[in-house]
């Protein structure tokens, strides 16, 4: 899996969130509106990197994700945990609780939830 640049990741997020989308629709959701060709370029790079595919051939292309959002997240996340916690997920979770991003009762709740759905 290849790391995306900032601009690429931003566009990729929109494609993930919309499922299928044209360049014009992408621009519509943006503010301020960049030129059509700028976004078109980025999308083409994403296609070259294997992150999106397209269909339709007439009026416009519909771009859709080939790489799953959660998979890319996982890739980025692993890189981070490796770099900053030597890959130890346990340490990370401990850290999150200590930093009050997560409370013990939330942790308890999550655990119960997961046990229920097994």
């Amino acid at each position: 899996m290849i790391k995306l640049t900032r601009a690429e990741e931003e566009i990729m997020q929109m494609i993930w969130d919309h499922g299928e989308i044209t360049v014009t629709q992408l621009i519509e959701t943006m503010n301020p509106k960049p030129p059509h060709s700028s976004i078109s370029s980025i999308v083409r790079i994403l296609e070259k990197k294997g992150f999106v595919g397209h269909k339709g051939h007439g009026r416009a292309y519909l771009y859709y994700p080939l790489v799953n959002k959660k998979d890319y997240f996982k890739f980025s996340f692993k890189r981070l945990v490796t770099m900053y916690f030597e890959g130890s997920m346990n340490e990370l979770v401990s850290y999150l609780v200590k930093e009050n991003d997560l409370t013990l009762s939330e942790l308890e709740e999550i655990k119960k939830d997961l046990e229920k759905n097994e």
Copy 2:
């Protein structure tokens, strides 16, 4: 907090891991060895961005972190969780367990550990 580029983050990691270090020492740990001036440049950029300071003025500069490793991790991590889990830490932890990066018993263990140290 400013995002570091790939090259900058790599050097910053080494500075974090060593505490205090000179450019020459940085290069010694690298393989293959880049030119002294390449690393010197990156370190100077890190200083300009406020990530490191230096002391000593004679023979060589000793560079040391001004930004804490965990703080920068937190910044990067938050960005990721916001982008991929709409900021919900609970969802993230659930996801990690579902993906088998964490087991329920590990979660239980972490919780107990944390309760002990309160």
